[in-house]
Amino acid sequence: MLIIHTALLCEARPLIDRYRLKKDFSFTKFDVFTKDDITLIVSGIGRLKTTVAVTYLLAKQSDLSQAKILNVGIAGATSRQFDFGQTFLVNQIIDTSTGRCYYPDVLINHDLPENTLATFDKIVEDQSVAGDHQGLVDMEAAGFAAAALTFLGPHQITLAKIVSDHLDIDHLSADGVTEIVAGELPRITRLIELIQAQKLPESPNLPQPEQAVIDKITTGLKLTVAQQAQLRNTLFDCHLRSGEIPPEWEQYLKPAPDSKSERNRRFVRLLDYFRGQ
């Protein structure tokens, strides 16, 4: 699953067209567009709206182990050595209001230049607002990172920023923004391909018959939640070693234990039995 976040609809438009995303009306608080395993959300400008939108979308997902999230948007550049229309992968995000930094793990083998980005609460119209910061500036990235990293690991988040101005933002129009993003679409598309191709670790599961054994033992011995976790780990190791769950486990369930201490004794013996296989 790939989630794309943009602040503005005009930033999202080339991506919506490229991936033929359709508006999903089941989302009522933000504009959300989806197709297959891509979901795009438009938050509106600013850190707070971004945090709320990303949280809103991620909190609705039941399994995030295979999720990846990408922020695409325009950014100002403090130096003219960063070309207008150039796309950067962000390797550090500085939240200028708190001083906190966020670091996405750059683990894909990409060919974009990288840069540091600072998020400000107001439009950065000249270097006096940007202060000492050299690099990219925007108004959303820190909110994006704070929300995304609440749900995901740093290897699951990516930010791609396209230089739209050199702190002379007043000339920018919505159409102009769309044109900037559209101009970099081949690079953004390539980045999306790389992100999608990155393999994330899957959480291991026991085959169905072995899961059923856990359920039967849990019910039979009235196991606590902690004991269930212990049993799952022990059975997983046992299955890994011998390729099966030995059938004699049922004898540890009969007769049903009549006290917690008897249940605990029986449980320890059962674990020893599985560990000995």
């Binding site: 670091y103 994330l200 670790p201």
Partner: protein
């Protein structure tokens, strides 16, 4: 090896150290990212250790506290109360599936402390305060890393050897799996420095010691080190359980002593796979299908290891085999 270090995260305080300049010069193409405090990067939550192993980053930082640690019970202490270790560098370019580092740290990235002088000063300060005055302070220098494996680009090994050679009442153990010994020629060895090579049967290396040199290359490297006058310890640790572990390990010992002069070996230590219980939990999350988890393991006093009866068998069989080549006082089995 695991990485060519495409990114260097440079802590503000580390910027002006000579070692920083030297290391950065060795990676001219790396992206440089200035960070305020290395912990903000190194200790991020929810990092994926195994994914990071595929693209290691380098962190250059200053170590401000815990410059020297007391040895932990899982380590071989050679019955010395003077056993300490330190971490001039954290994490390793190799990727051994049994390694406790994946349980100990959130990040697989290589963390280099550039204020090595401060770490040395901490050792110097502890020597007169060691618990057993009649024995030297035993310092394990390379437990959380492999200094020799990366010495050509992160030069920390040589300064420590030079420090140890001139220090009194200090015995330094530098553990390695490296076969990169060409640089040893230009470094004078010292009687109080032990190069400790970890050796494993080739099948174990192939299966779970990723990116490490083959057994024969390690044996060749040990031979070179002996020829150049280094004190060499052998470490068969951890022994990994399998149905045919005795055959695997006994054959490896025979191979070792066919190719190396037993009289030149300072000593040898061995022990079963063992790991702190909390680290084991993280290891099993990180590598849920690892061969490591297929061993019969029990928890005893917070340490996950082989069952006691099998540990006894291990001690007997390995000791018996080693006794064919070495006197008993040079054979050190690990015991809690």
């Amino acid at each position: 090896m695991a990485s060519n270090f495409g990114h260097i995260y440079l802590e503000e305080a580390a910027a002006d150290y000579p070692l920083t300049a030297e290391i950065c010069a060795n990676f001219p193409a790396a992206q440089r990212i200035n960070i305020r405090n290395y912990r903000h990067f190194f200790n991020r939550p929810n990092q994926d250790y195994n994914l990071q192993k595929g693209g290691l980053k380098l962190i250059l930082a200053v170590k401000r506290d815990d410059l020297l640690y007391r040895g932990s019970p899982e380590c071989q202490d050679f019955n010395s109360a003077n056993f300490y270790y330190n971490t001039p560098l954290v994490n390793c370019v190799y990727d051994c599936e049994y390694c406790y580092l994946q349980g100990k740290y959130q990040s697989a990235n290589l963390l280099v402390f550039v204020n090595q002088d401060d770490l040395m000063a901490a050792v110097t300060g502890q020597i007169p305060r060691r618990p057993e005055a009649e024995r030297p302070l035993l310092l394990a220098l390379s437990y959380d890393t492999d200094l020799l494996a990366i010495d050509n680009r992160i030069p920390i090994f040589k300064p420590w050897v030079e420090f140890a050679r001139t220090a009194e009442n200090l015995l330094v153990e530098i553990r390695t799996k490296s076969a990169a010994v060409a640089g040893l020629k230009s470094i004078a060895s010292g009687k109080n420095i032990l190069l400790s090579w970890t050796v494993s049967p080739q099948r174990i290396i192939d299966l779970i010691e990723h990116f490490t040199p083959a057994l024969d290359r390690r044996i060749q490297a040990i031979g070179v080190a002996i020829e150049q006058g280094w004190q060499v310890r052998l470490s068969i640790d951890p022994v990994i359980h399998s149905e045919d572990w005795p055959q695997l390990y006994l054959a490896m010992i025979e191979r070792l002593f066919t190719r190396l002069p037993a009289s030149a070996i300072h000593d040898i230590q061995f022990g079963p796979f063992r790991i702190n219980e909390n680290y084991y939990r993280r290891l099993r999350r990180a590598r849920p299908r690892s061969l490591i988890l297929m061993q019969p393991l029990v928890v005893q006093d917070g340490i996950v290891s082989w069952p006691p009866a099998q540990q006894t068998e291990l001690r007997k069989r390995i000791s018996d085999q080693l006794s064919r080549y070495l006197p008993d006082e040079k054979i050190h089995p690990w015991q809690i």
